[in-house]
């Protein structure tokens, strides 16, 4: 009887010692974070660099010990900019145990928002739609950048401050303003109401909108329609490929207007694709361009070279920096929430994100603040222009400082 008991306990005990000794890594606790990216769909011209940048950021974060010593297991999927597939991938990531998700487009992020709220999973997106910034409606949606409405308001303001006074007609008439974007795209149309509101606020005459597909190759008919209105300023809300096609056509047909571009249409590829038509084009830049001199840029560049050595540096874009922006705010929120002992969804929000007060990611972004009542990360953005072969600062516009009452009481959530 004793012999049986002895063997019964000793052998499994030894087996356990053996197994534990060889599988410490396999059993190590990890924090699961998911990703839903577009590397094949309508926004893949900007989504691919974002996706690989995000992957590099999480690898770097793990090399620095992860979240207070616990590694992050980052799992991401391409969804091809198809909303049903984004919802499917979201459900998969939830089943896999993700405690936070890095998302992509406006259409899918806004479609998922009620589910995210119900599931209480923090969702850090590349959609900077202002519709996602009011915690009363979208409590678990976040991003690091100035939102699209803030971007557009800042760009219109910068042009009005810096360019319009130099125009020969300044003081003689109202400046004329129009918009070009894909009407059916939630991303492109998200800030339209705010844009028109801001143009009216500054006294612009507003012309008819032009519908430009994200896949547009030829925009001559839209440019001809714009020529009838003779705009001084046109806002473009698409991504880089169709923005470059439009400004090329405008240049060739002599439209003569200045351009301001939302952030997803304004990157290092724009001058490559548009050539001399890109000269003087202004855009919202939520963070530094790839390689610009900011304190954390060396880490980003080193990580790109280390984790994707086969991808030429010349192909890398500001999209990588934007991915890092979102990864870095999640990292900081997770560290704070973990320190407070609460990595639940509400814990990550209340003890993580909503404790940010002018948090600097070190990559040229405006300082980031989240409160329980306001998820607009920043109060303005840096407006830059492509001039003499490089991106140059036009103005860092702070909307809250300029219109404090409207910022506080009117502009949240749209």
């Amino acid at each position: 009887m004793k012999r049986i008991t002895f063997a019964k306990w000793l052998i499994p005990a030894l087996a356990l010692v053996f197994l534990v000794g060889f599988s410490t890594t396999g059993l190590a606790k990890v924090i699961k974070v998911g990703g839903i990216m577009d590397t094949t769909g309508a926004t893949s011209d900007v989504g691919k660099d974002y996706a690989i940048g995000m992957d590099e950021a999480f690898k770097y974060i793990n090399s620095q010990g992860g979240v207070n010593g616990t590694k992050i297991k980052y799992t991401w999927f391409d969804y091809g900019y198809r909303i049903p597939e984004a919802i499917t991938k979201y459900k998969l990531l939830k089943r896999l145990g993700s405690i936070a998700i890095m998302g992509w487009g406006t259409g899918d992020t806004e479609a998922l928002s009620p589910t995210i709220n119900k599931d209480k999973i923090p969702y850090v997106s590349a959609s900077y739609s202002a519709h996602l910034t009011d915690p009363k409606k979208t409590a678990y949606n976040l991003f690091f950048s100035s939102d699209y409405s803030t971007n557009a308001r800042a760009c219109i303001t910068a042009w009005f401050d810096k360019k319009w006074p130099k125009h020969p007609d300044y003081g003689k008439r109202k400046p004329r303003f129009a918009c070009a974007y894909m009407f059916a795209s939630p991303y492109c149309s998200a800030p339209i109401k705010a844009i028109k509101d801001h143009a009216r606020l500054l006294g612009f005459e507003i012309g008819p909108d032009q519908d430009v597909s994200l896949f547009a190759l030829d925009t001559k008919s839209q440019i001809m329609a714009l020529k009838k209105f003779k705009p001084d300023l046109v806002w473009h809300g698409n991504t880089t490929m169709s923005v470059s096609a439009t400004i090329r056509d405008a240049y060739a047909l002599g439209l003569g207007a200045d351009w301001i571009i939302n952030n997803w249409g304004f990157d290092e590829n724009l001058p490559r694709l548009a050539g001399e038509a890109a000269e003087g084009v202004m855009g919202a830049t939520p963070c530094a361009f790839y390689g610009q001199n900011y304190k954390f840029m060396d880490v980003v560049l080193a990580s790109a070279k280390k984790y994707n050595p086969g991808v030429p540096q010349a192909k890398r874009l500001i999209r990588t920096i934007q991915a890092w922006g979102d990864a870095l705010i999640l990292w900081e929120a997770l560290k704070r929430a973990d320190k407070a002992g609460d990595l639940s969804g509400p814990g990550i929000m209340k003890k993580g994100f909503e404790t940010f007060r002018k948090f600097d990611i070190g990559l040229g972004a405006s300082p980031i603040t989240f409160t329980a009542t306001d998820h607009r990360p920043t109060t303005g953005c840096l407006v830059q222009e492509w001039k003499n072969g490089k991106f140059q600062e036009v103005e860092r516009v702070d909307l809250k400082a300029r219109w404090p009452e409207k910022w506080e009481k009117e502009w949240l959530g749209w």
Partner: protein, 198 residues
Amino acid sequence: MNKKLALIVVLFFAMGAILSSCAFLQKPTESNFKDPLIKLSSIQPSYYEGFWYYGKAKPAMGKAPKGGGSSPVTLDFVFEITNPNKYPIQLESSSFFLYFDDYELRVVHDSNPMWIPPGKTNTKVMHVTLTPFSTFVKFLLASKQLALQRGDKPWVKIKEWWTKLPEMSFPIDLKEGSFTFTADGVTKVVPISIRYQQ
């Protein structure tokens, strides 16, 4: 009593053998972590419907996707990965960009980890599903410039690829790839650039 003593002695030596074998295992460092060898052994079409595309249609059931429907193909990329090190390594993630005829189609990515014992070769399979329509979208974005330079018509090219897929008789490249391995906290990234040879 003798049997019990014998069992203890055997177990004692067995433990000693296990522990000493552990001690002989090399500890991973940046300098002794050799690049794992990565070989693309085959590309296997695991789902194929030939070539078809419709722009607008009313399905008998369900909702038609925007942009129409087109014939999906699923490709399995079968890699053989050899660990030349004296310690086990983990393949943490793997990714590459898939090119047909120098046209970039998509990023293929996998983040399911896999352990590879010292000196052994494991098989890793990565999957991708492509459709003619998603490929056409790439012609409007990343591939637009190359198509203009070459004078290629997107749908002609896509039809050619889909009909030649069973033989894979056109250049298929896996470029700008990286396979990330870890061992005891040490990371090694191996870049890959492979033209598929049948």
